[in-house]
C-alpha cells in the first residue's frame, strides 16, 4: 500500500503506549530501550525517503542536514523544522512547536510522571533523528533541549563529506 496521510494522533498515541510500557517494565533501562527502537525507526524511514530523491546526498554535511530539516522532519513529525543554525561545525535544529511533546504537560512538582514521559519522548525523538543521520553517513550525537513546546536539537557529528 502506498503511504497514506493519517491523523497525527495515531502516531502520538502509539508512542505513548510504547513509552508507558517501557517505563513500567524496564524503569532502569527505559532510555536505552527507546533509543534503540528510535534509531532503527530513523534508519528505515530514511531508506524510504532516499528512494524518492534522484540525487544521492553522498554524506555532504549541508545537504544531509537540509534533508533532515525538510524531508525527514516532515515524514517523522508532520512538518518541516522551524529553524536551522550552524556554528563551528555544530548544527542546531529548532522546532518551535514540536509535535511529539505538544500534548505532554510541561511538568511541575505534581507532574513528575509526565516530566519523565516528556524527557523519554525527547530521547526517543533524538534517537530517531540519530538513526536518520547515521544512515546518511553521519556519526555523532543528537541532544535535545526543550523550553515548553519548543525543542532545539544539537547535532554534533562527523559527516562523510
Amino acid at each position: 500500500m502506498a503511504p497514506t496521510p493519517l491523523a497525527a494522533t495515531s502516531t502520538i498515541v502509539l508512542h505513548n503506549e510504547m513509552l508507558q510500557y517501557t517505563l513500567e517494565k524496564y524503569p532502569d533501562s527505559a532510555i536505552e530501550r527507546v533509543e534503540q527502537m528510535g534509531f532503527s525507526i530513523g534508519l528505515r524511514l530514511v531508506e524510504r525517503l532516499a528512494l524518492a530523491s534522484t540525487r544521492p546526498l553522498l554524506g555532504k554535511a549541508n545537504d544531509v542536514v537540509m534533508f533532515i530539516c525538510k524531508d525527514f522532519w516532515t515524514a517523522a513529525f508532520g512538518r518541516q523544522a522551524t529553524n536551522l543554525r550552524q556554528q563551528r561545525g555544530v548544527f542546531y535544529i529548532t522546532d518551535n512547536a514540536f509535535p511529539w511533546i505538544i500534548n505532554v504537560s510541561r511538568g511541575g512538582p505534581k507532574d513528575a510522571a509526565e516530566s519523565t514521559l516528556r524527557s523519554l519522548i525527547l530521547s526517543f525523538a533524538s534517537a530517531v533523528i540519530g538513526g536518520a543521520l547515521s544512515s546518511l553517513g553521519a556519526v555523532g550525537s543528537v541532544v535535545p533541549n526543550a523550553h515548553g513546546d519548543q525543542v532545539e536539537f544539537t547535532v554534533t557529528g562527523q559527516f562523510m563529506a
Partner: protein, 184 residues
Amino acid sequence: MSRERNLAKIAESTFSKLDKVHSEIFTMTYGAIVTTLVEDLDNVDEVNAQLDKMGHNIGERLVDELLAKTGLNPQPDMRYVMEIVTRVGFRIYLGITPTLSNWNADSTTVTLSFRDSALSDWVELPHTLDDLSYFQLVCGVIRGALEMLGMKVKCTITADKLKGAQTTDILVELQEVMQAKFYN
C-alpha cells in the same frame, strides 16, 4: 442522505481539520514495537496479549478524540457504532475503510475485513513466528473503542493477510451492553 454517505462526509471533513502525517512513521513505529516485544517476551501468546492491551488503551483514547472532533454522540447501537468505527475512525487513524459483512439477524455479530493497512505495509512475517498475531492491536482498538461507547465485545482474528489470506478478517461479537464510559 444515507447514514453511510453522511459518515463518509463527516470522515472527510474531520480529517481535513486534523494535523496529518504520512503513514510511514506509524508503520515503522508499530514494527519496532512488535519486534521489541518479540525479543523481550518468552512466548508469542504474551506478545499478542500485550498488543491487545495496547490496542485497548489506544481505542479508548482515539474514540475520545473522535467523538470530540466529530460531535457524534451515538447510542449503543452496534450497527451504527461499527459504521462509525470503520467509516470514520479507521479511515482517519489507520487510513483504511474496512468492509463490514455477515451481520447476524439481531445485529450482534459482524465481520470486519480489510486488505491493506498502514500497520502492515512491507511486513513479511517470518516462519518462526507463525503464531504471532500482528493485527492483534486492531482487535484491542475495536474492543477499547466500543467499550467507551457502551458495548462490551469480543474480537477474534479469523483470517490474516500476513499469513496468506486474501484479507484480514476480524469477527466482532457483542457480549454486553452497558453504561457507556463516555457518558459518565
